[in-house]
């Protein structure tokens, strides 16, 4: 029975470690997605303003 408790802990450590890393990657990716969207919007807005000022 004691042998099973070692197996239980080793198995959990592996999956908690991998799950924590995957969660870290997804959170980082989501935050980068958000920053990319904001930067792209700012660039588009800047380009639009540049075009309208050159027309006037």
């Amino acid at each position: 029975m004691k042998s099973y408790s070692f197996l239980f802990w080793a198995y959990n450590v592996v999956w908690i470690g991998i799950a924590a890393y995957v969660a870290f990657l997804f959170l980082r990716l989501r935050s980068l997605d958000g920053r990319l969207d904001r930067l792209e919007r700012r660039i588009e807005r800047g380009a639009g303003e540049g075009q309208s000022s050159s027309r006037s």
Binding site: W9, V13, I18
Partner: protein, 234 residues
């Protein structure tokens, strides 16, 4: 997350999602109990694949490091960084699951045996690679220093592999040239299947980590180009 619709990522994710439960079934229900160690021997089916994947990732880091020092292209630095991070993750899992196996097998959590010590050294060197990036004066300097340290860390992998032969440690050697395979057919099949699934999982994590690195580069480039425009406008 709209930028995750990559066919390769989806195929890897589907493969891991389907095969991982099958690997768990084999580890817990298909493979027989080992006579001496009992259930604790099943730790072997994820401890050894974690070690193999940690070594594989160290070689990915080595390829990225050499490529970066040779060409100074950012894609190689991303490969080196991703390889380092994943090698550290799997090396840490090896260093935790190893003692959990050692306690019932040897009666102690840890001994300063050659293979254990050199694996701990690899973990410390990998952590060092990530730390020099963080504390360097510029990203380029960090990438250069991490690449050099990464090459040094990779030199430890063959030492870990040969440590048991060179210093006659306690660590069991199940596979190797000239060794008679001691595993029952069900045990061997379970081990090989588990190894395949961990390799696929590694591919998935590497592809995801490379995606994160690519996004970090794009954010940095856009930020720099906006700062450049702001500077030019001023």
């Amino acid at each position: 997350m709209r930028r995750l619709k990559d066919p390769m990522l989806l195929v890897l994710f589907a493969s891991v999602a389907v095969l991982m439960p099958a690997a768990n079934y084999m580890v817990f229900l298909y493979a027989p109990d080992e006579k001496v160690m009992g259930a604790a021997q099943r730790i072997f089916y994820f401890h050894v694949p974690c070690a193999v994947v940690a070594f594989l990732s160290t070689f990915v880091m080595l390829a990225g490091s050499i490529g970066y020092l040779w060409t100074r292209r950012r894609v190689f630095d991303n490969l080196s960084r991703s390889g380092t991070e994943l090698a550290l993750l799997f090396c840490s899992l090896v260093l935790v699951t190893g003692p959990i196996w050692a306690k019932p097998a040897w009666g102690v959590w840890w001994t300063w045996e050659a293979r254990l010590t050199t694996t701990l050294l690899l973990g410390l060197l990998l952590a060092g690679c990530l730390m020099v990036r963080r504390y360097a004066e510029s990203p380029e300097q960090g990438a250069r220093l991490a690449a050099v340290l990464g090459i040094v860390a990779a030199l430890d992998v063959p030492i870990i592999y040969k440590a048991v032969d060179w210093w006659r440690g306690q660590h069991p050697v199940v596979f190797g040239p000239g060794k008679k395979d001691p595993l029952a057919p069900e045990m061997r099949q379970t081990f090989l299947f588990s190894l395949l699934v961990f390799a696929l999982l590694y591919g998935l994590l590497l592809a995801l980590r490379m995606r994160v690195a690519d996004h970090e580069d794009r954010v940095r480039d856009l930020g720099e180009s906006m700062a450049g425009r702001g500077g030019a406008a001023a």
